[in-house]
Amino acid sequence: MTTYVPVAETEARQEPGAPHYLNVTHGFRSWALTLDHKRIGLMYLIGTVASFLIGGLLALLIRVHLWKPEGAIFDPELYNQVFTLHGVFMVFFFIIPAIPAALGNFVLPMMLGAKDVALPRLNLASFYLWLCGLVLATIAIIFGGVDTGWTFYTPYSIQTPTAVIWMGLGIFMVGFSSIFTGLNFVVTTHKLRAPGLTWFRMPLFIWAVYSTSLLQILATPVLGITLLLLVFERVYGIGIFDPKMGGDPVLFQHFFWFYSHPAVYIMILPAMGVISEVISVHCRKPVFGYRMVAFSSLAIAVISFLVWGHHMFTSGQSEWAMMAFSFLTFFVGIPSAIKEFNWVATVWQGSVALTTPMLYALVFLIIFAIGGLTGIFLATLSVNIHLHMTYYVVAHFHYVMMGSTAIAFFAGVHHWWPKMFGVMYSEAWAKLSCLLIFVGFNLTFLPQFIMGSQGQIRRYATYLERWTPYHQASTVGAVILGVGFAIMVAYLLHSLLGVRKARRNEWGGVTLEWDSPSPPPLENFERPPVVTREVYDYSVLNPKS
């Protein structure tokens, strides 16, 4: 059997034993004070995955609790804390930073052909801000937990005796970490592109992270201000949100969703970027409608600022506001639909390799289709009123957040793992775990759609007898999902032993990061890259064609 050797690899053979970013320096200080984007990315990877595992464990506890109508393990007070912490960890400590800060940090400068991000010190500072946020959140848990839900709606969040202030400050910190990362990436994209890398030669992952960064910079300050106001409200009683003092509790919802709707796209846009890369490489084909995909990222970023009211259709907003928010929500859905079609068209007539990253990408395409289509029900005013605050919404956003963003994150992790560590994981185990995750995920959340449209309200510690079979199916699904992730952790850790070394260009990619040894040297490339080809030009890999 002849091994297929991509051209990029024959050009510059890796010198065995040459130092790379993991082993150029040693010791705790060399990591704690590192300015290398790759090491910072790795630290984010460990941090976000740890948060994901904590959040996932909490999710399992929730599902086990809901095995019985009267609740199997917690009293309602504790249950409320558990679902709040699950949401806070998953949203603020995992999904928002996962792709941009962990994968983005590692991959973005390399894709641009740069040695590092434009502002390496700010990059390290944002990691420590994230860590401070995590510490504050842990303090909040020790000082009595939080039971407001991740949305912190007033006036409950003003009145509850739990540690809302600590948690609020923690998320404030994480918010600034997110702003700094965004700022850094925007500057890097503008300033550090390799010679010849014009805007329309940039891989779509960069376009996606760039759009995300704009959102992070523009939307996150609103979250910061909102949480500070909440803290002031609790400490000084300033009366902005508290109706007893003439404040308006619904104002909080406006502020909160003015950030948190764009935040939905902070979560999904980079995921879309990962999927574009993975599909292109593993189908060895340029992404169909490249410019449409790039522009729809930007379009989504802009319109997503104008739809926040769709979370509040039953709050008593005016009919005209309802109309505008519903209309714009449909409108922001169209670019996502276009992307989905573009990806399918990319697979069409490709050279489809069923590798682990590609399997995750296919899982993404299926789940994101369901996530997006069920979003249409929620955008529709009269149907929204029936479904609002039910399990239907829970299922919908898990299809988009967990089933799409998290799955895309894991597609990316498997795609760039050989690049990051220079080792390959066992594809057999990886495919098994991918299958378990796919089955477990759907078994967990499909029943929730039905419960929801039947009227089961969310955030209930106990429920009516008749929902039992649906809740139990969902719990079984969650356990399967948990087993899938446990296997993933096991084989990924095992791969680090280095039983199987990765090739320089493991999958045959043509973006710049593959034009570097695995793992890359400290300065990313052996010689400064120059881009002479159009983006995703795979002909170079195959001289015969």
Binding site: Y153, V250, G289, I457
Partner: protein, 333 residues
């Protein structure tokens, strides 16, 4: 296949028990079938492509590097756009219908507090509960337009009627309302209503019932909601189940407040005289109970120095009911 939950319902939807339901369900199923179509299309094409063009040799190039097809791209932009605009207009019209109540509505009131409902029928002076379970109950005449005006005494709550497809947030400091009409064929049936906005510990217990009755039964005297147990102990038990069980148990375990077990008749009960006030000893008698209910912060149980119980005015717990509560407490030895 899965059975529908309610008579007249489907696998996905509860019984269509209001005049809104046909429109909402029609739109729901329209979107559903459009979604099924696109889902099958997408996954079908994907599955076909993956099988047909899967990589057989390691150096197999893509079968085509085509990245544009203007006709195709315009088609898959315009068709979804047209479809969602239909959904948008249809949904907006339906929602307008829900938000604008007709002028001839019977007007009910629902007050939410942590964690229970006080449901007032038109002209009623006290809230109505199921005499046995203590659940709040709406008696609704079929064929009449019914409007429910809501308010909250503390945090956000929500009033949701899945079978009627309507729902409205319940806000402190602001009146909000919703309306519906139940068709005659549902006379005799009972549906649930729920609190949909997260409000703390007792959130999932804030549900009650809607009983659909005929206009004749609605007009009968005494009105269906005016009957309450005549035995004081049973009356007290009903009030307990309706208003107090979420915070007070009767088995000795403390919840938000102290348990009622063995409370009545205790001597030397230690209480604070107001939040931050001095400690004193009292005997738990009729007067103490009455004061605890009408003005809880006058004497606060020692275990919970911050208090935590909102006062129950006569409008929510009548004098007669309070006397019943005392009789009931006496039975909890």
């Amino acid at each position: 296949m899965l059975p529908p939950f309610q008579q007249g319902g489907t696998v996905q939807m509860p019984a269509p028990a209001s005049t809104f339901a046909a429109d909402v369900d029609g739109l729901y199923y329209f979107i559903f079938w459009v979604s099924v179509f696109f889902f099958v299309l997408i996954t079908g094409l994907l599955g076909f492509a993956v099988i047909k063009w899967r990589r057989r040799t390691e150096d197999q190039p893509a079968a085509s590097t085509n990245t544009h097809n203007t006709v195709l791209e315009v088609t898959w932009t315009v068709i979804p756009l047209v479809l969602v605009m239909i959904m948008f207009v249809w949904g907006w019209k339906g929602a307008l219908n829900m938000t604008v109540a007709p002028g001839d509505c019977l007007q009910y009131q629902a007050t939410a507090k942590q964690w229970g409902w006080a449901v007032f029928h038109p002209g009623a002076t006290q809230p109505s509960y199921d005499p046995k379970t203590g659940r709040p109950v709406f008696y609704v005449p079929a064929g009449r337009n019914v409007k429910i005006v809501t308010r909250s005494d503390d945090v956000l709550h929500g009033l949701a009627f899945p079978a009627f497809r309507v729902k409205r947030d319940v806000l402190p400091g602001r009146y909000q309302s919703l309306w519906f009409r139940v068709p005659e064929e549902y006379i005799g049936q009972t549906f649930e209503f729920f609190c949909h906005a997260y409000c703390g510990k007792g959130h999932s217990e804030m549900w009650g019932e809607v009983r659909v009755i005929s206009q004749a039964d609605y007009d009968k005297s005494p009105r269906p909601w005016e009957t309450e147990p005549s035995d004081p102990k049973e009356l007290g038990e009903m009030v307990y189940k309706a208003n107090c069980f979420i915070c007070h148990t009767i088995d000795g375990t403390p919840r938000v407040g102290p348990s009622f077990k063995g409370l009545y008749g205790r001597t030397e009960r230690e209480v604070f005289l107001g939040v931050g006030g001095p400690l004193a000893k009292v005997t738990v008698d009729d007067e103490y109970i009455k004061e605890s209910v009408r003005n809880p912060n006058a004497k606060i149980a020692k275990e919970t120095p911050q208090g935590g119980m909102a006062p129950w005015p006569e409008q929510l717990v009548t004098e007669k009911q309070l006397a019943g509560v005392i009789e009931y407490l006496k039975t909890l030895k």
